[in-house]
């Protein structure tokens, strides 16, 4: 009896996991598919909601899932984080940290720890949900370390990966810019 029940529960877990882990193609991917496959692929989302939806609470509670996106895109349009500070409203911004810039490496160990990087590394074309909290967090650390600074600016420069692994070109275009003043966030 127990062996049958166990086999049934394992089967249920595997089926629900497989259904919830099916890849849901985006609009661009759907457009590429031949018509019969396109209608099949567009049914995956509703199918998942019906069959895996009732078990979604388990994934939510335990923060687990079964769709594994590991470097899905590897695109050539990327970003480069820049953290700057200045001593007053009219002073020039000075770069404090940039990845792979040995001259500007303040708090590099902390910033490059994977859990912290997850808060500043953009998801596609959008900042991480916790980007705002990250900017406050790092500004507080910088203000505690660099007493002369009154403002900290965090932004991401768009970069273009060169073909054939030849490095990247900064574009000079910045986005997701946030500024924190010492009076607002300092410990």
């Amino acid at each position: 009896m127990w062996a049958r029940l166990r086999a049934a529960l394992i089967t249920l877990a595997m089926v629900v996991g497989l259904i919830s882990g099916l890849p849901v193609p985006g609009e661009k991917d759907l457009a590429r598919l031949p018509a019969p496959l396109r209608s099949l692929a567009s049914a995956i989302g509703p199918f998942q909601r019906v069959f895996a939806g009732p078990f979604q609470f388990i994934g939510d509670w335990l923060f687990i899932g079964q769709r594994w996106n590991l470097f899905a895109g590897a695109k050539t349009d990327r970003y480069w984080l820049t953290i700057e500070g200045r001593t007053g409203p009219n002073a020039n911004w000075k770069v404090l940290y940039r990845p792979h810039d040995p001259e500007h490496a303040l708090f590099s160990n902390e910033l490059e720890y994977r859990r912290v990087r997850g808060a500043w590394n953009p998801r596609g074309r959008n900042p991480a949900d916790g980007y705002d909290a990250f900017v406050t967090f790092i500004a507080r650390r910088i203000f505690a370390e660099k007493r002369e600074l009154s403002e900290v600016r965090v932004r991401l420069e768009a970069i273009k990966i060169r073909p054939r692994g030849a490095g990247f070109d900064p574009t000079g275009e910045f986005s997701f810019e946030l500024v924190r003043a010492r009076r607002d966030v300092a410990p």
């Binding site: 062996a3 049958r4 166990r6 086999a7 394992i10 877990a13 595997m14 996991g17 882990g21 890849p23 193609p25 985006g26 509670w61 335990l62 923060f63 687990i64 899932g65 079964q66 769709r67 594994w68 996106n69 590991l70 470097f71 899905a72 895109g73 590897a74 050539t76 990327r78 480069w80 940039r98 990845p99 792979h100 160990n109 902390e110 490059e112 720890y113 994977r114 859990r115 912290v116 990087r117 997850g118 808060a119 590394n121 991480a128 949900d129 916790g130 705002d132 909290a133 990250f134 406050t136 967090f137 507080r140 970069i159 990966i161 054939r164 692994g165 030849a166 490095g167 990247f168 966030v185």
Partner: protein, 317 residues
């Protein structure tokens, strides 16, 4: 058919594979938590703003720990200490089932406080810990086994094999799903198989100065093709494991798989890909976490052989 399916999940085996898995998974989690501490990021990596990165603490759906005990640095610290103690207990095999449950719950609460810091490997290790909670992974190489022997009780010779087999399927699905979700052209010949070179030029991920890959670009293309082949082909591991299970299985194909140790070649390729990632990219525990799960692909006798060989190598001559 159903009877064979039930019998398959009812199989028993020696405990070495699951015991090694238990220790490695717990040690990788412990190493990650220790890194956060060493960098002075405890409790900041999960603490609520303005102190840290735990931005969900004041959101519309804060995690249970935040609702019960308040979204404070103290709550984060308590969760962190709980996770560390549970990981130590799991690695040592002391109250393994309870410690696995506590570890999964504590890390999931930390994850929900600062979800941006969570990667696929954290979820995968948490799933492994949850499955271990239902296993007898402490039947050997554990405090529990030592204590049992000390009290004159016999250690179980065999334990249920289903946790290892289920995690075997889980890891295969991770590879397979990763391949299915690869939407970008860079992973395919139409994008010149440039994916790995692109990643190694991304200043946020590459370990060495971006641009270092240019002289070895062709090898990165080969690496991209190999990665896709390995991931898409990962379900073959089921076949290789079955063919390897008994002499005479699978006719000529089975004979070839056994003679050329194809299963071990496949696993060696996976290990090599993960070590290359660890060497060239800054992804934290990803590669080590994946390799910590590899004991699920090994039968207990193979794990024993491996451990004995390592012991021989480590013994002073």
């Amino acid at each position: 058919m159903i009877a064979r399916w039930v019998a398959f999940w009812d199989r028993r085996e020696r405990p070495e594979s699951l015991a090694l898995l238990r220790m490695l998974v717990a040690l990788v989690i412990l190493a990650d938590l220790a890194t956060a501490l060493a960098l002075g990021l405890v409790p900041e990596a999960w603490a609520p703003p303005p102190y840290g990165l735990g931005w969900t603490a004041f959101g519309s759906a804060p995690p249970l720990a935040g609702r019960l005990f308040g979204a404070t640095r103290g709550t984060v610290l308590a969760l962190y200490v709980t996770a560390v103690l549970a990981a130590v207990a799991l690695a040592l095999g002391a109250s393994s089932r309870a410690s696995a449950c506590v570890l999964a719950l504590a890390t999931s609460q930390l994850a929900r406080l600062a979800p941006d810091g969570e990667r696929a490997i954290d979820m995968l290790l948490r799933i492994a810990v949850l499955v271990l909670a239902f296993s007898r992974a402490d039947a050997c190489w554990s405090v529990a086994a030592w204590w049992r022997t000390r009290r004159g009780r016999a250690a179980p010779v065999e334990i249920p094999a289903w946790p290892r087999l289920l995690l075997f399927a889980q890891v295969v699905w991770v590879y397979s799903s990763a391949a299915h979700n690869r939407g970008g052209d860079a992973w395919w010949p139409r994008g010149q198989l440039s994916a790995i070179a692109n990643i190694l030029c991304d200043p946020h991920y590459t370990r060495f100065a971006p641009g270092w890959v240019e002289p070895v670009y062709v090898f990165t293309q080969f690496g991209t093709a190999l990665t896709m082949a390995f991931e898409f082909g990962s379900p073959l591991l089921f076949l290789f494991a079955w063919l390897d299970g008994a002499p005479g299985r699978g006719g000529r194909l089975g004979e070839l798989v056994r003679r050329f140790h194809v299963r071990f070649l496949w696993l060696g390729l996976g290990a090599m890909l993960h070590l290359s990632i660890a060497l060239s990219m800054r992804l934290g525990i990803f590669s080590f976490g994946m390799l910590a799960l590899y004991p699920v692909f090994l039968r207990p006798a193979e794990v024993t052989l491996l451990v004995n060989r390592v012991r021989c190598l480590l013994q002073p001559r």
